[in-house]
Symmetry: D2
Subunit: 392 residues, 4 copies
């Protein structure tokens, strides 16, 4: 169990773009980053398009007023002038700003943590990849559910062959909080999500399914997605041509198959994200409502429930352990584990430690690009009438 | 609560074809039929292709040896000669015999209860329909899970509009007992199920998904299926060209959509059959492992769990109640409720009471034909590479 | 799996006292007894104190009207005169009649199946024991929940030492259907249960806790109860001096301890009966709402869920298996398994096969007497102000 | 939802005694206190009896080395000299140091947050109460599970009468991590817990049950405990005369009754803490493994599950909401909510705002004293042979 061990020499000075008063996700970024103040220290922020609101918000968080900025351009420029300027930045804006803000951050010499979905086009991802390499920086993607420790356990069990050959990957991120169309108009956090000019080709496929898709990649690193077929609907009609519900079928290169259901009109469902991995010998099932419980189901044997924090888990699943068994975790611990890994990755990059970088499991730029490919292939399939399309 | 009330004047004399020593389902038929001996009395049987085994089996059940027959042809002929001959017969044979045995039974003047899937071809169904009408008999299909009382509750809630407009129907009948290919060779009950000459175009699509598909029709009587897309696999390769796993997407005439997952290679899953109905305002969720619990999830309100046997259920859901709340039911009660309805239907048919027949909710010949359409549309879609096909 | 095997040569001719129109439990007796008609055949009945109601009820069940009787005395006398008279009788009356009816039945040469709690006084039990021995008959007690197959699995695991030394036995039978005092007045099935002249010294202690107490004895055959302490209440005041809620603490001879909570005012609880056995190395947990699932919890290892019908269970837990895995059971199967064992016991007694009798696990006269001791010790403790009393 | 709102003008400068390298609970204190750095800022520490280990630990947390101290006496003295000295201190030491450290802190003019159980004797509590009043400071107790939002919901529902009259309070804090006696010797965090000189009269009664007992007081503020009866055991014999298992029965002044089971030898149980409140009309059930789900069970109506973060909850239950529905919380959020309330209480005390203090729901000195009374009454009862004793 982690009790006060150091993972990096000192915390990174860290800034944030977005994530202010009207953002529900900003709190998760801050809490995730600030665990024990050993990975990141919140140093500067451009929280909001409304600078007054930004300043009030920052002061409430006891931040230094000098480090609050009207926009990211100013923040990057001013911080660059300081000896104690920020070293990493978080892009927590609506989707359409991810690309330009990430680009500007890299050009300002910062490591980047960007909200999902990363960008709209694969080409943008490739360009950013070249830029990041050139600048010697890394780009992380906040698939915020992917830090749960039992996901590492799933990965350990899958890659060690405990399930036999992987045959099926069944994914779901489907809740009902979009049933009421009023939210599209009234909530600032929702409004841009249903505006194609702000989110690109997809609503729930981008907003929800990219999370679960990444998690499936993390758990099953050897499965290469080949084709998808997507049927999507706007049950709340005003959302058309974006979708509030989508069914996706998947085919992997090795013959495995999969499904994804993503939805914000799955009325009343409070257990939104489910992952089931079916092997030839056994299955694993996990959901994000009870993230510290993992069901392992070997065919013909008793079902097992594995709990977070226990000594029988794989070393990878115990690596981030801090609370101890019986003390259950929530979403914030997932974010904290993730941010802890981001800091380790940045530190390794700074030190030129490619070995550490290669072995560290975290959502990086490649995964972000995979997310773009996923969304675009699904949207293309749906727009052609729900036919099979290659993922590329 | 039902305590000794009569539903029909006297029980039907009832015979069975198949369902003997090597059949796992025969017990369910007998127990379902024989509740309190008020609906059916087991009178004659052709349990087995092996007549000695049939006789031994019948004697163990304390049956009159004279009423045990080497085959259904003999049984129908001999019973027809008796004043106390059977009035109804159960066809519990492998699938490929359903059509001819049903036809022979109707011609012998018997009501028929037939195992699912009914026949291989829609034309056979239509022919049997004409014959049944001509003979004034009915044909019931043993979708044995469809007698659970809470399914009636789901139907009541759906048809009364408590869920709003139905948007999605998510179905699953997926277990893992086919993971081991040895069963295909060793188990008599399994062997014929993977032989195309005995089961027609499909394995799990016929063996499993027809159950859940009927249940969805029963719950949502107003939803008309328009198109399906099916991707199927034989993860145990020897089963090809039959499938042991299938993903189906559905489109309904009114814009609703749905999914079905049926599988016998869903390793380790013990909660095999799930039904989720998603409306614009609320959802319902049920599974056959806990059949006396129904989850009602109105968006934005607390989730509710409704229990069988309670006074707050609809009259339809309480109609078959015999145990009382807290006393939980299993699969046998579902079969008993179903057989009770079959008896009421036969009695109504005999009395020319079309009103009762029309209002009685039970799987009849039309539903059996719908099941054939379902299987054939799925198989056609899969064979064309998983494309959309019309259900007809 | 049981498929049509014979356990006894032919079914017993069986009669019932009580269990008619106003009885909720009669259906469970009949269905339990009549599985496949191979253990018992319902032959005669004195269903009701109201003979007209008895006759109507019997006719609805398609019974021979000649075998319906106005009272058990007449039934025993008349049946004794027939060559095909009943051989066993079920006492399903209110508690205060158990003793005299059982005595009369034994004197009439019948095996007896009696509802719980057996009698009011230990002395009555001892007298009946002598009478039964003299007559060469057995007396069974319908602890109707005790036939679930996974209870046999629990017994196998406990007696084979898989839990280590048994330290705690935590029991609960606590529902809320007595919250409404109106039931005491309005329901015929409830009225006598709150009348001390009909039920003796206890209401829920007798009506509910004797079930769970027997099940704990069955699971842990080596634990000898030494002392109890009981605090009881009548939260619905009109029930005083009977209780509608009781907390019991238990001390076993070997230092193990236990608890029982029995209640009919545990508002809203639908999962009424729970059993938890805690050993020095592992625990078992079971509840009657999900009787086909058994939680096995070895300390420091993943929790396991064992399911009924699976090949990994002990031979004892598979002995009564008829449905097959995935096909879940309800309360009726528990009753059926129990009645099947009663028939085997009666047959063994008739054949003088003491070896079979000794090894057969079923609630016999001794267990019935233990139930009386349990109730009386609890009542005595409570009446003395909730102090420790010896169980004797 | 809380998004960056200020609850107090600026965070308190905060120190900690204990909670270092060998302490599992220290992380929870730090994370709880440091949410968004708006309630407390970790400023000084005496983490350890081993000063080198303290210094290394503090440096890993990026603390200023000058503010790391060899013991609390030095810390209080040195900090008192500074203008920016600490204003509040956390006592996270083994139990036997709570009293003297709290006393010294108050004398040094600090607000105190103390681990449970508070002290050994009621008299110590009374003395500290007088001292705190004299100094104008408050003493909070870290019942760390009591900050979950749904506990506030339970309180709202109980006090508003939704359950009717409260009849029963059923409590449990029983896990199995003490099954292995080796832990008593090998783990520094466990060793002192089984040493009477360090923990006083009780092991699990103090270590575990005080948590759940306080939570029951918080939920049912009007229930006054009158008598307890406790039977306790040391199933691991070396723990005698301390207990590793205890059963407690409770009687409240208004006739309600209750139970507590606390244990560290409840082998294999991973769902350790349960609270069930039974009223005359409905019950509530909650457990700390799934803290964001509350079961509300009105007798005769469908069961309801209420989820954290939803608009249908009481204002009190929404007050600390920061994550939003579907984003589930863990133990750290409970601690954070609690520390947030401690800060508000200290701020109110500083401002002389008695109104705020009176209405704020948090575990204060009185609750700490109640915990001492609870432990001592239980121990006294057990030592007298498990008899009823008054709580005083």
């Amino acid at each position: 169990m982690q009790i006060g061990e150091k993972k990096i020499e000192r915390p990174f000075r860290w800034g944030i773009v977005g994530g202010g008063k009207t953002s529900q996700v900003g709190y998760k970024h801050r809490l995730g980053a600030m665990r024990d103040n050993t990975s990141f220290v919140l140093t500067a922020a451009a929280f909001d398009v409304d600078f007054d609101r930004c300043k009030e918000f920052g002061k409430n968080l006891c931040m230094d007023e000098d480090r609050l900025y009207p926009d990211y351009q100013t923040m990057f420029a001013e911080e660059a002038k300081r000896e104690d300027g920020i070293e990493a930045v978080d892009i927590a804006t609506p989707n359409f700003l991810h690309y330009e803000a990430t680009k500007a951050a890299l050009e300002a010499g910062l490591h980047v943590i960007c909200e999902k979905p990363l960008f709209f086009e694969v080409e943008q991802g490739e360009e950013i990849k070249r830029l990041a390499e050139e600048k010697g920086k890394i780009v992380c993607v906040t698939y915020g559910f992917s830090g749960f420790e039992l996901l590492q356990q799933m990965r350990s069990m899958v890659t060690s062959g405990m399930l036999g050959k992987i045959n099926m990957i069944d994914l779901r991120y489907a809740h009902g909080f979009g049933c009421d169309p009023e939210g599209d108009v009234k909530s600032e956090g929702q409004k841009w999500r249903v505006d194609p000019s702000k989110v690109g080709r997809a609503f729930v496929l981008g907003d929800l399914s990219t999370h679960t898709y990444y998690m499936s990649q993390m758990i099953c690193p050897d499965q290469k997605l080949k084709q998808v077929l997507c049927d999507r609907q706007a049950f709340v009609g005003s959302r058309y041509p974006l979708e509030d519900n989508a069914y996706v079928l998947m085919r992997y290169e090795d013959g495995a198959v999969g499904r994804m259901w993503c939805s914000c009109v799955n009325a009343g469902d409070m257990s939104s994200q489910h992952i089931r991995i079916v092997g030839s010998k056994a299955s694993l099932e996990w959901n994000d409502m009870h993230p510290d419980e993992l069901h392992y189901q070997p065919q013909g044997q008793p079902e097992q429930i594995l709990y977070r924090g226990m000594g029988y888990l794989s070393p990878e699943a115990q690596e981030d352990e801090r609370l101890g068994a019986l003390h259950y975790t929530g979403l914030i611990e997932s974010w904290s584990n993730l941010y802890g890994r981001f800091a380790v990755a940045m530190d390794a990059k700074n030190r030129g430690d490619e070995e550490t970088l290669k072995n560290l499991v975290y959502p990086d730029l490649e995964h972000g690009i995979d997310g773009i490919k996923w969304i675009n292939a699904c949207a293309e399939s749906a727009d052609k009438g729900a036919v099979w399309v290659d993922v590329k």
